[in-house]
């Protein structure tokens, strides 16, 4: 801001010009990216990308090539054979894992987005008794490590005969305190009160106001929350490992674990699986990267 103001105001007499450059120039230089900045960032990006690249390299090589010295750092052409072996591997049930993860992540995402936006709308735009207290309660739940309740949770699933079935890893995650908080913050800024009142004057019920007026206004926040939820569910590990003990019905992360522990001498197969498990998220990331970054950064400012 300051920098641009200084840059445009450089027309008049030489004397003030020099003085301005002295003061403004130093500040200006602060925001200038030096070669060192670029080197730092490019090194960070390279380090971030390398393990993923290496995953690709190993997934496209034969097992013999992996044992070579120096280790391979360029891709080969064996991906087809490796994937064939992976899909033919019944004990890893990789395809079942992929499908299960897709189902679970999708269902959870839809519910989290719906419940969070509905509650966020209520907290931001409706007046009711105990509103602040209940919002505070939700904020506190965000700080509680609920993962620690896994032992009784498992017993519950067992009693309800849900263990080894997908509902056991869907039901506990249908709501999100973070999601409610995020939607409330977004709704209170993005949806004008006047709009809500106008809808109400038109005779809209609160639910129709939500559905027709609020929900469209929340679209950017919904996209971000949806993406986060999907990624989190796709990558979830500890609870699915407990709840889905049956090896024939895993999530993708569980088949990866089984692969890595049972087939550690067939690295290229394990890596082919790892690669396939990451690809869906990579595609999402490449398409929606800008929104994801925006979501993280906005969330940080508001929190």
């Amino acid at each position: 801001m300051t920098a641009t103001a200084v840059r445009t105001g450089t027309t008049p007499a030489p004397a003030p010009k020099r003085r301005r450059r002295k003061g403004g120039g130093a500040a200006e230089r602060l925001w200038q990216a030096s070669p060192l900045t670029y080197v730092t960032l490019l090194a960070a990006v390279a380090l971030s990308m390398f393990p993923l690249y290496y995953m690709f390299v190993i997934a496209t090589r034969t097992n013999d090539a992996i044992g070579q010295t120096p280790p391979p750092v360029t891709p080969g052409g064996e991906i087809g054979g490796n994937v064939d072996r992976l899909l033919g591997n019944e004990s890893a049930a990789f395809m079942t894992g992929l499908v299960n993860s897709a189902i679970v992540a999708t269902v959870v995402t839809v519910f989290v987005v719906f419940f969070s936006s509905l509650a966020g709308f209520a907290f931001a735009k409706l007046r009711f008794k105990g509103r602040n207290g209940m919002m505070l309660a939700i904020l506190i739940t965000m700080m509680v490590p609920t993962q620690l309740g896994i032992v009784p949770l498992y017993q519950m699933m067992y009693e309800w005969d849900l263990h080894n079935k997908l509902p056991s890893i869907i039901l506990p995650f249908l709501v999100s305190g973070f999601g409610v908080f995020m939607m409330r913050q977004y709704a209170s800024q993005a949806v004008p009160d006047e709009l809500i009142e106008a809808a109400r004057m038109d005779g809209c019920s609160t639910f129709r106001t939500y559905w027709n007026v609020v929900l469209p206004g929340l679209r950017p926040a919904i996209a971000v929350l949806g993406l986060f939820t999907f990624m989190e569910q796709w990558n979830s590990f500890l609870w699915p490992q407990i709840a889905l003990g049956d090896p024939t019905n895993p999530t993708v992360q569980l088949s990866l674990q089984r692969l890595s522990q049972g087939y550690y001498n067939d690295y290229s197969q394990v890596f082919a699986g790892t690669l396939l498990s990451v690809v869906p998220l990579l595609v999402i990331f490449i398409i929606f990267g800008r929104q994801i970054i925006g979501g993280i950064m906005e969330g940080a400012v508001k929190a």
Binding site: P51, R127, E194, S205
Partner: protein
């Protein structure tokens, strides 16, 4: 919509700030149904959260406390389990295997969190400059975060492989003998911490970056006139101004870091990964919990470990909070400077 709102009386300016102030009550009543809707529907809209959280979040957590006081195994019910009071707690507090898992967890937590936060701050500072290819660079550093724990662990375990891992090969170029990374505590701490760092540094950098962007730039200008170097400004101004964000990030990292599980589990591999290797060299508290739960079927004891872990998380959150709060004094200095520049 514009027409509609212009017929309404002007909304007081205070109401326009959004958030904290709800719209005023409608002035026309719309019958009993409408009034019921307005009065009670909010509770219906927030109910799903409380119902689901209550059943699957809060209740299990409380029930964990109850189970921890019983000798409770796989077939037990409330009637058959034997009440043992705090015996389980006493037993673990005297159990060297439990303390070993605590030491491993804390070591990996410190070794991953401290470098991670420092690197994230430096990275955020770099990203805060005027850059070409801004979005691409941000995406580049965030990409590890979308990778799952299982995938990260598999790839890094291969990179750290004793016989043909890339890391030992590079170290070999400098004359270092091949390290068996899984064999000892310290080496597995290094390897596992590096996985956590890789996955989270970029994410935290973006959070810091967001906070940095909300710092008004004119205070830097006056500091520059005073002759403070960029590096000094970073440590004496930027970092203190980020205090709330740093507190937030450390607490989140603490809650996550002390529950470390997937990375050490997959890194360990072998016959019984829950033990963290033959000498329990990389067993974390969560793995110890799972050992009680999933190998020994001692549900009461597993619940006890869950509560001990909960206490550990609380202790560390408080320590972190007190530690990061000490940045406050520096914050005051910046505010003075800011006032002087006006």
């Amino acid at each position: 919509m514009t027409v509609q709102s212009s017929t309404r009386p002007e909304v007081a300016p205070g109401h326009r700030r959004g958030g904290s102030t709800p719209p005023t009550e409608p002035q026309r009543s719309k019958g009993v149904l409408g009034r019921l809707d307005i009065k009670y529907s909010p509770y219906l809209y927030i109910a799903p959260f409380f119902v689901v959280f209550g059943i699957f979040g809060l209740w299990p957590l409380i029930y964990t406390l109850r189970m921890s006081l019983y000798d409770w195994d796989l077939g037990s019910t409330v009637e058959t389990a034997k009440f043992v009071g705090f015996d389980n707690f006493a037993m673990f507090l005297g159990d060297s295997d439990f303390w070993n898992s605590v030491v491993n967890t804390i070591a990996m937590f410190l070794m991953s969190t401290i470098p991670q936060l420092i690197l994230a701050l430096i990275l955020a500072n770099a990203l805060n400059k005027r850059l070409r290819g801004r979005t691409l660079l941000r995406m580049g550093v965030l990409i590890p975060n979308i990778t799952s724990v299982a995938a990260v662990s598999i790839v890094f375990t291969q990179l750290y492989n004793r016989d043909f891992g890339l890391i030992n090969w590079v170290l070999g170029l400098f004359g270092v003998d091949a390290i068996d990374w899984t064999a000892r505590s310290w080496s597995s701490w290094v390897a596992i911490s590096s996985m956590v760092d890789w996955r989270w540094t970029g994410y935290n950098a973006l959070i810091f970056l967001a906070a940095m962007q909300s710092i008004p730039r004119d205070i830097y200008e006056s500091a520059s006139i005073d002759g403070a170097s960029g590096w000094r400004q970073f440590w004496t101004m930027t970092v203190p101004m980020l205090r709330p964000t740093i507190i937030f990030v450390t607490i989140i990292s603490t809650i996550g870091g002390l529950q470390l599980y997937g990375e050490p589990l997959l890194f360990t591999g072998g016959g019984n990964p829950l033990l963290g290797g033959s000498d329990r060299q990389s067993q974390t508290v969560t793995m110890f919990l799972m050992e009680q739960f999933y190998m020994k079927f001692e549900l009461g004891r597993a619940a006890t470990v869950a509560w001990l872990l909960f206490i550990l998380i609380m202790i560390f959150s408080i320590i972190n909070f007190l530690f990061t709060r000490s940045l406050r004094s520096a914050d005051g200095k910046v505010k003075q400077k800011k006032g002087a520049s006006r």
